[in-house]
């Protein structure tokens, strides 16, 4: 795991001090709210419906046990005893008080964390594959590249006031677990003629105008990564629209110019502005890679234990994956137990999980973009014992990848922008599909719920997407089908008129029924069936039934 250099430590300490001064000036009236707002946003502090919200960066979703313990402490001392893990692998505290925020940032800096660039029109937290470095099919670990980009983009003077926010994801696998193609820039490590480099995608995004990113470079040499990113960002900074917030993201620019034109402008800037200082030499790259070595794991032939305990077996089947080192497993911890807000963890769970990660997984925890957690290196001989401890903490729900493993934004319960609630919808889905056997018989499916068109709940790329709308003061929910955030990324299609909160769950049940009816075999998943039979079959079943009932 990356350790801060003295420079990192200094810039975080300086920024904390600077923000403390800004808060003091705000509280004594020397700064107006208009002056203060951009300053607090640069430090991840929003004003939401009921309170301030502080978004803390978790670079590429990687946490140490010490950091998780600190987050638990902050949740208890400064908040209401819980935190919310987000779809960009960050954590949000929903109730901090303004005078205490500098102290929170100070506490975070003690464990090499901060809230810088978690808001505002700058390059945000770099996100990555939660299985980075753990799987055999990976071309290369993407985390060192995320760290290289993090270093380059932090306080980058030219890219601190971009037309809009900017999100970058990096993966090292063909199988995409990062939602790469709905990022402003997606970088995929590939091997070509035995040389590793990057495929570069630009212009993906969700919100009110969803786009799938397009490839502008089929192979970028590692040494040129930062210069090429500079070329993309410079092109966007020069030409991205600043006159209309809804048209300011890079996806709009790429779409308006056309990908070929955008690509040629980037290539020109790449040649024109390429800077020797930004060329990455082998030593620099190696120095960063050294932070990301695997812990000392011993190969063994130990398999996952066989047990008569049904609950354990379900969890083992659903929530564990093979590690690339034989004898170890990757454990996925669901933050979607029935009836709880997706992505929330209370301080006790965080505290205990930090201890568990020390005991079972070398003090390492990952955050997934699907709002779950990962213990990356668990010895197979300890799996049963681990499960027992997770079960006590209500962290052993066996639903990873199943229908109750929904992605969900905070919605109108918290968010000042939302037009409808999303957490209660997720909870209803969880309660309606509670039994493992039922969920398993449906198979892999992604339901994603957003409380407004800004799409923080990724509804556009849900196999079933749910978008909350305000219709004359009443909450209605529009359903889309066929979206995917994976390597076959697709934007979902709207199935038809929206549903009231009351009728939404039965609509989802009918959609599932259509899927089951058309499934060719047990392993054909929802998305495959949708792609084979198309939306009309679903539409017919859904609305015909509705009419009969009405």
């Amino acid at each position: 795991m990356y350790k801060y250099s003295n420079i990192d430590k200094k810039i975080i300490a300086d920024r904390t001090k600077q923000f403390q001064n800004q808060v003091e000036r705000r509280l004594n009236g020397k700064l107006t709210e208009e002056e203060f707002k951009p300053l607090r946003l640069m430090n991840g502090l929003y004003l939401q419906l009921h309170a301030y919200m502080l978004r803390v960066a978790i670079p590429y979703g990687e946490l140490s046990s010490t950091q998780l313990r600190k987050l638990a402490f902050i949740a208890d001392k400064f908040d209401r005893g819980y935190g919310h893990f987000t779809t960009r692998q960050n954590i949000q505290f929903n109730w901090p008080k303004l005078p205490e925020v500098p102290e929170i940032l100070d506490q975070l800096s003690e464990v090499e964390m901060h809230a810088i660039q978690t808001s505002g029109n700058c390059i945000r937290n770099i996100s990555s594959d939660h299985l980075a470095g753990l799987t055999a099919e990976e071309v290369e670990d993407p985390r060192p590249w995320c760290e290289i980009i993090r270093k380059w983009s932090t306080f980058h003077p030219e890219f601190s006031f971009l037309p809009r926010k900017f999100k970058i994801a990096v993966t090292g696998c063909l199988e995409d677990r990062t939602a790469l193609l709905v990022h402003d820039i997606g970088l995929r490590l590939i091997k070509k003629n035995n040389v590793i480099g990057f495929e570069v995608f630009v212009g993906g995004g969700q919100g009110r105008t969803p786009h799938i990113a397009k490839m502008i470079r089929s192979f970028l040499s590692k040494k040129d990564l930062l210069n090429y990113l500079e070329a993309i960002l410079t092109t966007y900074n020069q030409l991205g629209r600043r006159d209309n917030i809804y048209k300011a993201r890079i996806k709009i620019l790429v779409n308006e110019l056309g990908v070929q034109k955008f690509k040629s402008l980037v290539e020109k800037n790449f040649v024109k502005f390429s800077n020797e200082k930004l060329k990455l030499d082998k030593n620099t790259i190696n120095d960063i890679f050294n932070f990301f070595k695997l812990p000392k794991l011993k190969y063994s032939s130990n398999k996952l234990p066989i047990s008569k305990n049904k609950k354990f077996n379900e969890w083992k089947q659903q929530n564990t994956l093979p590690h690339k080192i034989s004898g170890y497993s990757i454990v996925l911890i669901s933050l979607k137990p029935p009836g709880k807000p997706p992505g929330d963890a209370d301080s006790r769970q965080m505290q205990e999980l930090a201890n568990i990660s020390d005991d079972f997984s070398f003090g390492e925890i990952r955050v997934t973009h699907e709002q779950n957690l990962v213990l990356p290196h668990v010895n197979n001989t300890q799996i049963y014992q681990l499960w027992q401890q997770l079960d006590i903490l209500k962290l052993a729900t066996p639903n990873i990848g199943l229908i109750s493993d929904t992605i969900c934004c905070p919605g109108m319960d918290y968010c000042a922008l939302a037009t409808a609630r999303s957490i209660p919808i997720s909870q209803k889905i969880g309660n309606n599909f509670k039994k493992y056997f039922d969920q398993k018989s449906i198979g892999d499916i992604k339901i994603k719920i957003s409380g407004c068109i800004n799409a923080c709940g990724h509804h556009h790329v849900g196999n079933i997407g749910i978008l909350g709308l305000d219709r004359n003061g009443e909450e209605f929910y529009q359903i889309t089908l066929g979206g995917s955030a994976k390597e076959d990324a697709a934007i979902g299609q709207i199935i038809g008129p929206s549903f009231s909160e009351k009728k939404l769950i039965s609509a989802i049940r009918r959609i599932i029924k259509t899927y089951r009816k058309n499934k060719k075999n047990a392993s054909e998943d929802f998305l495959s069936v949708f792609r084979r039979i198309g939306i009309e079959a679903f539409k017919k079943d859904l609305y015909d039934n509705t009419r009969k009932k009405n």
Binding site: E33, L47, K97
Partner: protein
């Protein structure tokens, strides 16, 4: 702020600067629930504009807004209802 408002009666609401907590303007100043909030007729809105601007300047509140009431005198929109009564979900 008053130009887009549609209804006849409103409450004045804001967030406390320090805590971010939702507050409503009452005869006793800014309090956290709407029961005692002053019911304001649309003709009087501009008078209250001055009140919240002063309290914003005094660093007491931020993000002030008029909350529309329905015909029965209750808060009209779901967002404002949630602002007043808190989360609709169990958090722990």
């Amino acid at each position: 702020m008053t130009k887009k408002l549609k209804g006849d009666f409103f409450l004045l609401s804001a967030n406390e600067l320090q805590s971010g907590k939702v507050v409503f303007y009452t005869k006793k100043g800014w309090l956290p629930n709407s029961n005692k909030a002053i019911k304001i007729h649309r003709d009087d809105l501009s008078k209250y504009d001055d009140i919240f601007k002063k309290d914003e300047e005094k660093c007491i509140i931020i993000s002030a807004k008029f909350v529309e009431l329905d015909e029965s005198g209750k808060i009209k929109t779901l967002r404002d209802k949630i602002r007043d009564s808190g989360l609709t979900i169990k958090i722990k």
